[in-house]
């Protein structure tokens, strides 16, 4: 870019130092935590069916990899379906609400109701009425769609008043206003909603799988955890849990990266600067 940007240098060096510290510190905490865990198990001679050592968990992860991997894929597929449904549904409903106040006033309270009802309480009901896979995806959707909806609504309402006037002055059609003004204005909010929704759809999928697992069916990672619990296979529970956490972190990082790539050219959040 040919434009002068006097802040660039400072922001770059400041971000660099912060970046190293922000990477090293959590790794240090992890190392200390794992060490303490290992020592606790060794010194007290705790049996693996009570608390497995970190080494045992890792060994289980390797030995049980085929079964855990295929379970992980199942859970991720559910998560992805729930996430896509939440993204498309949340954005579409927000767009409809922005076109019609009547629709918003009629339906938004129920969106909130759906959001505040614990999904763990809804899942068993859905599993009665719907095929298992459908029920699980719907659970993921229920948990994940609200932040997309709420953030998109917020974004569509946060359009600059004068820009909006400018569009009216130049006789923009509703579709042009949506495409050139409302959508780009709302995009940072939408991406925030999606970033939250990614983690939530994983939670929704896991909750529904555990509910389904209680009914004695399922193949996802959460089902493996429940099943291993019944069998007192504690190392495998830990291994599956570790995989789930990692999956959640990876999902979050992917969405944060996507958000950065989309906004990096103009939005403050992606510029690493204050203001």
């Amino acid at each position: 870019m040919s434009a002068p940007d006097p802040d660039d240098g400072q922001a770059g060096t400041g971000g660099g130092e912060g970046g190293v510290v922000r990477f090293v510190l959590p790794v240090l905490v992890l190392a200390v935590g794992v060490l303490a865990w290992d020592l606790t198990v060794r010194i007290n001679d705790i049996p693996p069916y009570v608390l497995p050592s970190p080494g045992t968990v890792l060994r289980t992860l390797v030995v049980d990899w085929p079964i855990l991997w295929s379970s992980l894929l199942t859970t991720l597929a559910t998560t992805l379906e729930g996430f896509v449904a939440a993204a498309v549904g949340g954005i579409a409903i927000a767009l409809l609400f922005s076109r019609s106040k009547w629709l918003e006033y009629s339906l938004f309270p129920y969106a909130i109701m759906l959001q505040v009802t614990p999904v763990i309480a809804i899942a068993p009901l859905l599993l009665i009425y719907l095929p298992q896979q459908t029920a699980v995806v719907i659970c993921a959707w229920i948990v994940a769609f609200f932040p997309v909806l709420a953030n998109t609504m917020q974004g569509l309402k946060s359009v600059d008043r004068n820009l909006s006037g400018l569009f009216r002055l130049y006789g923009a059609s509703p579709l042009q206003t949506l495409r050139y003004l409302k959508w780009p204005s709302a995009l940072p909010h939408i991406l925030t909603g999606l970033r939250i929704a990614g983690g939530l759809s994983l939670i929704g999928a896991v909750v529904a799988e555990i509910a389904a697992g209680a009914a004695g069916a399922g193949s996802g990672l959460a089902y493996r955890i429940a099943e291993s619990g019944y069998r007192l296979n504690i190392p495998r529970m830990f291994a599956a849990l570790l995989l789930l956490s990692l999956a959640g972190v990876v999902i979050y990082m992917l969405l944060a990266l996507a958000s950065y790539l989309v906004l990096r050219r103009w939005h403050d959040s992606a510029l690493g600067k204050e203001g």
């Binding site: 040919s2 006789g171 403050d268």
Partner: protein
């Protein structure tokens, strides 16, 4: 109050009028009057400033002319009739740029919305950017530009459709004085070159005197025309800014502004 200006308003022949306001009133929903009744004639190619205290409704008057706001009463006529609204360029107090779009795309916006074909639009955008000396920043994003440069982008966007009328709502109020002086000069040379009708809203006596051919002094809310001062100076270089003539005009405008405030308080 409007009778004071009667001589200059009624004398303008119809064919010369770019914008005509008759009895324009803006009242809020609770009945409080914000503006008017306002009578005003703007000649084609004229540079007129609306000078008044904050809250007198001068920005409201501008928004009514642009069609961004509806008058509660009265009539606004633009030369060219119904489609004339499209022949208006508007510059807001803030640059009001789309942060997600490059300078080029920001300036192209009015043409995009009017569905002008890309090659034609590109030519007009290039010309508008050259007009405000920002050609080399076409690919930059607004956040990379200084406040003055952003304002020039805003000006280029207003001019890209080659409008007959340019409405400016305290466009330089947020800028530092040195940048403002520079932009004042740039605006004047653009006006000389393009011959647009310009309505410039400001609360700065000095800016209004420096820029315009006619300063319309408004009363406090509800704003009406208190006085009009013709600034009969054809050449407005930097020399004018420091001349005794300029100081005399500024004094006249200041006095008129103070009188407008006093007479209103007496009412």
């Amino acid at each position: 109050m409007s009778r004071l200006s009667a001589s200059s308003t009624d004398a303008v022949p119809d064919s010369d009028v770019a914008i005509r306001l008759r009895g324009v009133v803006k009242a809020y929903a609770n009945g409080v009057a914000a503006l008017g009744p306002l009578d005003l004639d703007l000649r084609r190619g004229e540079f007129v400033s609306l000078l008044g205290p904050s809250g007198c409704g001068k920005s409201t008057a501008l928004r009514i002319i642009a069609g961004l706001s509806e008058a509660s009463e009265g009539e606004v006529r633009l030369a060219g009739g119904g489609t004339a609204r499209r022949r208006i360029g508007f510059v807001f107090q803030e640059p009001t740029l789309m942060p997600w779009a490059s300078v080029r795309d920001n300036v192209r916006l009015p043409l995009t919305l009017a569905r002008i074909a890309r090659p034609t639009a590109d030519r007009q955008v290039a010309a508008a950017l050259a007009g405000v000396e920002l050609s080399e920043f076409a690919d930059a994003y607004p956040r990379q530009l200084s406040g003055g440069m952003r304002m020039r982008v805003s000006l280029a966007r207003a001019l890209v459709t080659d409008p007959d009328v340019l409405l400016m709502d305290e466009p330089f109020a947020a800028l530092d004085e040195i940048t403002r002086f520079k932009l004042n000069n740039d605006l004047l040379s653009l006006w000389h070159r393009l011959g647009k009708t310009v309505v410039f809203v400001t609360h700065s006596v000095f800016e209004s005197v420096f820029l315009s051919q006619r300063v319309v002094v408004m009363t406090p809310r509800p704003g009406r025309v208190a006085a009009e001062i013709a600034i009969d100076v054809p050449d407005r270089g930097e020399a004018f800014r420091t001349s005794p003539e300029y100081a005399a005009y500024c004094r006249r405008a200041s006095v008129a502004l103070a009188d407008a405030g006093r007479s209103d308080a007496a009412l």
